[in-house]
Amino acid sequence: HFPRHPKWPNNNITFRIVNYTPDLKKSDVDRAIRNALNVWTDVTPLTFKKLHEGIADIMISFGSKEHGDYNPFDGPNGLLAHAYPPGQGIGGDTHFDEEENWTIDSSAYNLFFVAAHELGHALGMSHSTDAGALMYPVYSYTTGYPLSEDDIEGIQALYGPNPNQRKVKPKPDTPDKCDPMLTFDAVTELRGETIIFKDRFYWRLHLQMPEPVQTLIKSTWPSIPNKVDAAYEYPEKDLVIIFSGIRMWALNGYNLVDGYPKYIHKLGFPKKVREIDAAVHIGDTGKTLFFADEKYWSYDEATGTMDSGYPRSIEEDFPGMGDEVDAAVYRYGYLNFFHDQMQYEYSYTYRKVIRIMRTNSFLNC
């Protein structure tokens, strides 16, 4: 919250849209603002009434550069919008930088998401340090329910819960790299960096960077799902293949390859396989190993076919590993398997587990 926790003294708040951006139809702006307000009414007892003239509690407008409040905007990009905490006069007012390109999708700055964030300020919310929270200061486009648990706790601390609240599924808190119970969804190499997927986020690890950098998946790859099951790099074609459910995507660096997503069964999996748990490419052999439940397959990248004699048992062929895998990556001649909060360093040459560590040690914890 802001210092002294400013909030509206009653739950019935008025708003007025003073002007509109030419980037969107008036109805699109109205809908974006209404949906942004609904984000907060869903979890509080607040109600919002629209005024078409006069002074409302929350005056919403589009302006550029110096627009009358001595907090000027800066042209395209940079500052997108701002809003003032609850109070008289300018309190609650919400301003959008007209020099941005406003959209209703992910192609530029999505008005709904920015409005939901700014209206959070207008209701008394300050910025969150949680990268997955709506009130995080940096712009990102995401899908699904916009509020995280941090956002909901914050707004309900001011106004209480919605007595008629429908069941909402807030985004979970951002994964903590030093959580001793940390598990991974998928791990892959990408042009010399290691990418670790966990929930809606991924970490980037580079030898020259001591600290992993955490980012929302959607911020980098808007077209792949929020949850990744498996991923591997095929360096010969400079591709990273991402798996989620029964679909797979091919990325060339940060760009989606045309023709994707495709069904995983195109690789030769039986129809009953609905999800891949882990995938890893072994450069020395040209094979990619796919793990699902207690079994694994070997895929020949050169011929584009599954090797005969598969699937085989994980437990039998990788002794010491347990019977399931969450994620896998091949580095420096070793297979790193991840299962729950443990990490197994497996020597492909000697066919045995060399080391067992906590999963979070992979992130230098």
């Binding site: 500052l79 919008a81 905490p85 712009y139």
Partner: protein, 79 residues
């Protein structure tokens, strides 16, 4: 030797960012770059964004400062 123009631009960007969002007091350019307040505010910003806290303008910090964001300060009042 004078800073390369690219480095100078980065420093100016960082100073402006910290002033706007972290309440760095306005002062003469050049004096602040290695001074206590600048380093303290830089650390505050790095802590907020869960970057490595160095007090220095490293690549990760600079990259984050360049990202599109809300104009409300990350700390303190906004009026």
């Amino acid at each position: 030797l004078p800073l390369q123009s690219g480095d100078k631009d980065n420093w100016l960007l960082a100073e402006k960012y910290l002033r706007r969002f972290y309440g760095l007091p306005a002062g003469l350019q050049g004096r602040q770059r290695s001074s206590g307040p600048f380093e303290t505010k830089m650390e505050e910003m790095q802590r907020f964004f869960k970057l490595k806290v160095t007090g220095k303008l490293d690549d990760n910090t600079l990259e984050l400062m360049k990202q599109a964001r809300c104009g409300v300060p990350d700390i303190g009042e906004y009026n």
